[in-house]
Symmetry: D3
Amino acid sequence: MRIVIANVNTTEAVTEAVRQQAMKAAGPGTEVVAVTPSFGPESVEGSFESYLAAVAVMDRVAAVREPFDAVVLAGFGEHGKEGLAELFGVPVVDITEAAAHVAGLLGRNYAVVTSLRRTLGQIEDRLRVAGLAERCVSLRATDLPVLELEADPDLAARRIAEQAVQAVDVDRADVICLGCAGMAGLAEHVEEATSVPVVDGVTAAVGLAETLVRLGLRSSPSAYPAPRRKTITGWPVTGSRA
Amino acid sequence: MRIVIANVNTTEAVTEAVRQQAMKAAGPGTEVVAVTPSFGPESVEGSFESYLAAVAVMDRVAAVREPFDAVVLAGFGEHGKEGLAELFGVPVVDITEAAAHVAGLLGRNYAVVTSLRRTLGQIEDRLRVAGLAERCVSLRATDLPVLELEADPDLAARRIAEQAVQAVDVDRADVICLGCAGMAGLAEHVEEATSVPVVDGVTAAVGLAETLVRLGLRSSPSAYPAPRRKTITGWPVTGSRA
Amino acid sequence: MRIVIANVNTTEAVTEAVRQQAMKAAGPGTEVVAVTPSFGPESVEGSFESYLAAVAVMDRVAAVREPFDAVVLAGFGEHGKEGLAELFGVPVVDITEAAAHVAGLLGRNYAVVTSLRRTLGQIEDRLRVAGLAERCVSLRATDLPVLELEADPDLAARRIAEQAVQAVDVDRADVICLGCAGMAGLAEHVEEATSVPVVDGVTAAVGLAETLVRLGLRSSPSAYPAPRRKTITGWPVTGSRA
Amino acid sequence: MRIVIANVNTTEAVTEAVRQQAMKAAGPGTEVVAVTPSFGPESVEGSFESYLAAVAVMDRVAAVREPFDAVVLAGFGEHGKEGLAELFGVPVVDITEAAAHVAGLLGRNYAVVTSLRRTLGQIEDRLRVAGLAERCVSLRATDLPVLELEADPDLAARRIAEQAVQAVDVDRADVICLGCAGMAGLAEHVEEATSVPVVDGVTAAVGLAETLVRLGLRSSPSAYPAPRRKTITGWPVTGSRA
Amino acid sequence: MRIVIANVNTTEAVTEAVRQQAMKAAGPGTEVVAVTPSFGPESVEGSFESYLAAVAVMDRVAAVREPFDAVVLAGFGEHGKEGLAELFGVPVVDITEAAAHVAGLLGRNYAVVTSLRRTLGQIEDRLRVAGLAERCVSLRATDLPVLELEADPDLAARRIAEQAVQAVDVDRADVICLGCAGMAGLAEHVEEATSVPVVDGVTAAVGLAETLVRLGLRSSPSAYPAPRRKTITGWPVTGSRA
Amino acid sequence: MRIVIANVNTTEAVTEAVRQQAMKAAGPGTEVVAVTPSFGPESVEGSFESYLAAVAVMDRVAAVREPFDAVVLAGFGEHGKEGLAELFGVPVVDITEAAAHVAGLLGRNYAVVTSLRRTLGQIEDRLRVAGLAERCVSLRATDLPVLELEADPDLAARRIAEQAVQAVDVDRADVICLGCAGMAGLAEHVEEATSVPVVDGVTAAVGLAETLVRLGLRSSPSAYPAPRRKTITGWPVTGSRA
């Protein structure tokens, strides 16, 4: 089977990191096609950027030539899943939902831990829409200023582990979801610090997408009906610009 | 004060209808500036179109030259509010939320009634995200095929009134929200049929936006922080295409 | 239009303060009539007093001679709204609900901060009944003894600002609602301390009431039906005592 | 022990009916003192009347000379419980909550069935405030006009049984609560019609009140603190009128 | 009336302690029959043990010769209630639910405080299933290692009181439920420390069971239908082993 | 990898059917070991039987000689998952939760449709405990008497499809979960009737279990800690009987 995994920002290095992460979870018969939007922000850290990225991802996936069996949306807390499902019909797995579903299979309560507080509101929105917020006991971010976080990744890692420990000890989380597509490398460290399972959204999403494809399931046409034929100016965005 | 009201589709006639509706609610000192996206779908009936419209609306509002005090997003169940709040800081009132807030001020339980069933899922998502779903007792649509609805507006009106009566009698709704920017004309008819207050999102949103401006309030920078400076390819969309 | 704003206690100085606060929000064509109950407690700090005040307010508003277009109930967390709506049919806006609705328009999550812990339970009840509790992340009070609070208003202000900062930093509130009709003066101070919007219930309620009147809406007769004719001993309370 | 049971309206015949119903549940050592408010409506069918009744009941119970161990508030969906708890400290059992608690002990889901639709909103409010709404699958009323209901009690009984059957068959209720203090006589009939347990609020409340007294428990002073000393004009209402 | 109270573990001393606790709540005409399972764990501290205990309790109660009117399941957070209700038809009161129901009658919010953190998840599950979790503001355990807790009961008591104080002060609990069948002796101590009512599940359950019996109520056959006739290998467990 | 799939009843034919169903979902490298409890009911249709089955399944899985990587609990709405997770540490996937998780990945709202109404309460309990009830819009059963259902499987199939159509049309379900381990054969028929995806719990659970194993995840020791060493009389049940 072929799974398209879409980075939500325009940074190729992130696409490559996501692709490598996805490969760890993919079964032997699965081809992973990682794509980068041709426009949009270099990193997605808010709703304006997230909406733009949603369109850029739809635009980019629409340009994939080979047939594919599922799409993974590799932005934690980002928009776009429903649109992808409408356009392509195949299963579309958002890494936010994937992490929460997998967490729910492993324990009662889970927490999301990430670096930037400004992303927590959007993550919460996605979990609410997905009906997965009920067992989410906390959304935690390090409270370091952005610049410090970026200057010192080790510090960020320690702070994330600290928040994870608080999530387990204070909020009674049984499972930790890492709330960022680029955090996969931290899983082992956080698991050691907390002694509970740590879920990375990208690998979770790839695994779930494979399962849905293998079960012969598709996105519900009742929830995500194919768009009706109509005039759409400027779509596809890249095509209309070319 | 000046309020920008954004149609979500590219159909000028809808923009004009929305503008006239908005004028009914606007106070004497309020200038209403109605804008039409320069790209996107001619009508918005699903998530793919809604995401595209969200970007087109942000793009169009960013092109408004005059200073403005608030934005009204005139698409029922559509995306984009959070992005507008991040970009412009002023209060941004989505007509879906506006209708639900006003309904909550008038009675215990409310229902949303609209024409097309395919839009109900998105409306529900918006209400959940806004924390306004708890007192929403039902989301109802006529079950007529789309073509029939469009061919016979009177039939649509009767069917909407029928669903509103069911919402009151069966679901115990105290207030009816009309779930479409273009339905304002039906309010009186539905009110007669049901004997309960009927809320139109556009007028509700304009009224609420005026109130927020008069109270000197702005969108919370904690919920909707201004975007950080960064490279964003292809933004603004129209600018980058020009 | 004419809006009756009802103080819930018998202290005229509070009525005057509420009236002045209301005037700040009222539009040019709005007449604000502030009324004081003719019986009941000098301050309302619990359910017994709140029920008594609810009846005293209904009694007092029933004695207003001029026609009016809306009622604002100016007691945070107090009873009475539903009764006023039944008796008078016009929109009735409770300042607790008003603050929460406005907060919901400005951010995702809000908190209520007030001085006395003993009032938090009632506030929570009102928010639950109104279906507005879901996005309320915390209800916080200073933990100073009552006498100290009353002896030193500056200390109270500092403590309230401290709690507001906690609500933003720890509970992730995006907006702060001041949980007391008499706290309006603190808004600016709390906004400076927290950098998030601060909502005062009285001005919020006046703004919302004006909007409802301008939109031609009334309280839902399904939720708040006019009382049936029947024998009611001792009503109106003042009339029956006269 | 001595339990005061308060009718919420001024109709002595109802007080007597409630007293007899209470006696059925009371243990051998329990004295039941049924009281009638000295003012207020002859029947309570809305929020205005309910608030007035709440004060009239507090006023009347405050006039009871003998010491008592608990209070039962015998109005389904009516206000006043919290005030009584603050004033008297002893356990106060509202028949609405009592019915829902007992229903929860007997099955998963319960429904409330009553005669007048106009009372359902208030019942729902009480269940929400009490945190007991989650397992309430429906609130049903007969849809007969009031006059017909009153003219033909047998018809009312049949219609209530019909609604109870619908609650069991359609809404999956496991237990039926009769939503009116005066409906106790119907329990057997409804139980036969539905084959599920039927709970009457008055007997449930008396039983629970006895249990609380026997366990040596009191109302929580944290939830319902005793009123502070202060000037309260016109209280007690009857005393101030005398 | 005769109430069977079932210890969930095989330790006779616990059965005797539970029996004595139950006797404190039982009315003069009530006979309490305390039973010990004939197999299963010596103490129940997890789900594996809880499921085994559920079967052992059903097996043991099925062996009671005398007719009985109600069953009390004396394991906090343990499984089995629904099975007992199906088998015996009489009211079955689980001490977890009993404590939460009684707490709800005394205040708005309650907390559960117990010694071992590992039992909190199961307690939470029971409260969720019973629809009683909404007003549970916290589940707290001492964070002492098990061995220390067992070696020093006084220390455990102090730590439980400390957690109860936190539940009241930080989580705004109005009532404390002691989350363990063996904690009844601590109630007075915790009440002194917190000044709020403290509920012990065993006495609460006995009181509620008596009430249900006196009201002539039974478990709902819709929720807990009697088992159909069929082949069941190895049941009753003790009988089949004999 | 090796997955143990546990039938919950003693009927070997059901075990074989479940095994064949599981094989359809299992990847090429996966060995499925289907086991039958050595005691318990021949079919599980209630809580008494479900608790007994939970113990019988734990007993049977404990007797599996080969190492295994995950367990699938193949009883819809049945007990036991938490105990298995405690005993074996590996991921344990309950088919009820599996179906709901997969449904959530495919659409907004889902419904469960099954044959016997008496099982709906338990299914609801499992979904509540798992935090998956929020997006479950209905639980529907055919209302045929049991004997008729069993006598005429075709009739049962038609009735289930009818209920599924109602779930989609009336309750707005986007996905149907078949609520019984033995219903897999109906999926295609129900999908044709409804045009929405139909999820079978057994295949869903096998797919999810494979994913969890491949991701290197285990059950959370915080949620499901390994049992402490202690005296457990009569365990393992078969061992102690031997």
